[in-house]
């Protein structure tokens, strides 16, 4: 009797073990699916391709001969294509890298692309390299005008995290790159210090991005999840703007001049008093005009002001004008972007009214003293990227990637 009981018990165990095994195998298969494809429980309306039509971010660059190079990220793939008809049609894209769900596709992440006068292309992007969400910046180059690219290589040799590359090409063809670097924060944590955020690191390359100087830090304390804005002053010197962390965990905007010999002092753009540990994913924009004036636009939820704002500085950031609101108060305003030439300044941003996202423009002809009334350039009903500004010779363009209405390259003005 007892034996029989034990036997049925062991049968029961065997059955349960098999059942659990099957269940566990099922769960494992599900995990594998999540890795290998977007299928499964994903809704049907998701854009699945790696083409521009499914991109989450696209970055443009005009070559010296007026060709448009566009780099984008879509479903884990970084691609580049070219257009000779201002974005109406593109050559078949070149795949630079494939990282699947590890590609940094956050709201403020975008591939960086610059081209020198000979047509050599330099590209940078970030992806998550390990299970602890440490990121790595990879760079790739092309010496045949973007037809083929080198295999991507890591920008720096460091085990911690590097993210949000921001790239400029200087008139002397040297490349300036800045990024958010977490090695100082990681080291502080190892020493038992409780610290959030990252640092602003930078480097220069004199050979088209093949090699870079040893990296240096401009500011040891910055937000870890916001894009860095960068612009060249009339002498070709990079000026960056970013969300710094000031004493007391205040995440307000700073600007900083970066000379080849080293970074200049951190200058606060405005006292917004945004005390937060959160990730805003919403970095600023900067444009230095022909007079050397810094024009900065940014987003904040500070205790002293909340929304999108603009200010300028005539003294290298030592002092800034009183911030003025960008866009309609209480509207959903975001993603400001600036472009300057001579004394002309263009400022675009996004406003969402509950059904459509519109790009607004206002411009100044007197170095930011007075501005035109904002006007709508274009709008879209679906997903859209940040609005960006760039110029081809004397013509200024809005670059805007939209899911429903395609990639938009719209002429918005002439340099005088």
């Amino acid at each position: 009797m007892a034996n029989q009981f034990t036997r049925s018990l062991s049968h029961l165990f065997l059955l349960s073990a098999l059942l659990m095994g099957a269940l566990s195998f099922g769960a494992h298969a599900q995990m594998q699916m999540d890795h290998s494809s977007m299928a499964g429980s994903k809704p049907k309306n998701m854009c699945q391709s790696v083409g521009l039509e499914c991109a989450n971010a696209a970055t443009p660059f005009f070559t010296a001969d007026g060709k448009l190079l566009l780099s984008w990220t879509a479903n884990g793939v970084v691609s580049v294509a070219q257009s000779t008809d201002l974005g109406k049609s593109f050559t078949s894209p070149v795949k630079i890298a494939e990282h699947g769900k590890s590609l940094d596709a956050g709201a403020d992440a975008r591939p960086q692309i610059v081209v020198d006068k000979q047509g050599n292309v330099f590209l940078a992007y970030a992806f998550f390299k390990d299970a602890n969400w440490n990121a790595q910046i990879n760079t790739a180059r092309s010496t045949d005008e973007g037809k083929t690219f080198t295999l991507p290589v890591s920008l720096v040799n460091d085990g911690s995290s590097q993210r949000f590359p921001s790239v400029l090409i200087k008139p002397d063809e040297s490349i300036f790159i800045s990024w958010i670097d977490k090695r100082l924060v990681a080291a502080a944590k190892q020493g038992g210090e409780k610290r959030l955020g990252g640092s602003i690191a930078y480097s220069f390359s004199q050979d088209g991005g093949q090699t870079f100087q040893a990296e240096r830090f401009a500011n040891e304390s910055s937000c870890e999840c916001c894009r860095i804005a960068a612009s060249l002053d009339p002498k070709g010197i990079p000026v960056v703007a970013y969300r710094a962390i000031f004493t007391g965990g205040i995440r307000d905007q700073a600007s900083q001049v970066i000379l080849e010999k080293g970074s200049q002092p951190v200058r606060r753009v405005a006292d917004d008093d945004w005390k937060t540990d959160a990730c805003p994913h919403h970095g600023p924009s900067i444009a230095v005009s022909g007079s050397g004036k810094f024009h900065v636009a940014w987003y904040t939820q500070g205790s002293k002001r909340s929304g999108v704002f603009y200010a300028n500085s005539s003294n290298q950031g030592i002092s800034y004008s009183r911030p003025s609101r960008v866009g309609t108060e209480r509207a959903n305003v975001s993603r400001p972007y600036l472009y300057a030439s001579g004394l002309q300044v263009w400022l675009v941003w996004k406003e969402f009214n509950g059904s459509k996202s519109a790009v607004y423009l206002k411009e100044s002809g007197d170095d930011g003293k007075t501005w035109t009334t904002p006007k709508i350039l274009t709008s879209t009903a679906g997903y859209s990227d940040h609005p960006l500004l760039l110029a081809r010779a004397n013509e200024v363009f809005l670059s805007w990637l939209t899911r429903d209405d395609g990639y938009q390259l719209i002429s918005i003005g002439q340099k005088q």
């Binding site: 034996n3 034990t6 036997r7 018990l9 062991s10 165990f13 065997l14 349960s16 073990a17 659990m20 095994g21 269940l23 566990s24 769960a27 494992h28 599900q30 995990m31 999540d34 890795h35 429980s41 994903k42 809704p43 309306n45 998701m46 989450n56 699947g100 769900k101 940094d104 596709a105 956050g106 709201a107 998550f128 299970a131 969400w133 959030l196 870890e224 999840c225 937060t276 540990d277 959160a278 990730c279 805003p280 994913h281 919403h282 987003y299 939820q301 209480r330 959903n332 975001s334 996004k350 969402f352 509950g354 996202s357 679906g382 997903y383 859209s384 899911r403």
Partner: protein, 160 residues
Amino acid sequence: MKRYWLTLLTSFLLFFASLSLADSASLKPYQAGDWKSIIKSANGGPIAIHFWGVTCPACIKEMPQWGQFIKNNPNAKVVFIQVDDVSQDSMKKMLTKAGLDKANNYYIAAPFDEHLRFEIDPQWHGETPTTITIDKNGKATRKTGLVDFQKLQNTIGTRS
């Protein structure tokens, strides 16, 4: 001999049970239009909806505290929504580690953009972590950054 088999089977059983437990976090897709039904699920009672991201350091730091809160308040209505475009496997790992694998978990299944956020709060630009608390009178409060769990306890807690 029988005892030997029994022990072996028991260990098998425990092994598989623990395996399947590790992967037991279930995630539902969240899409535009889902906000109303999430609010309705509270039946007029207080509810907290916590938006977090796998790649957000402040969120990772706070998640175990949410796990503790749920443990202390098993009947509190809390919904977790993961907003980053990452693999479900990585979301599940983090939830399991924080003791939130059995919580009411969602992930954003469309671009996490202004369209998706508008019905939640037109003024919210997607900072993470963000917690929206709706008290018993239906008043919604949005808090960006780390949560004051004592305050949360007073609003939606169920511990007597």
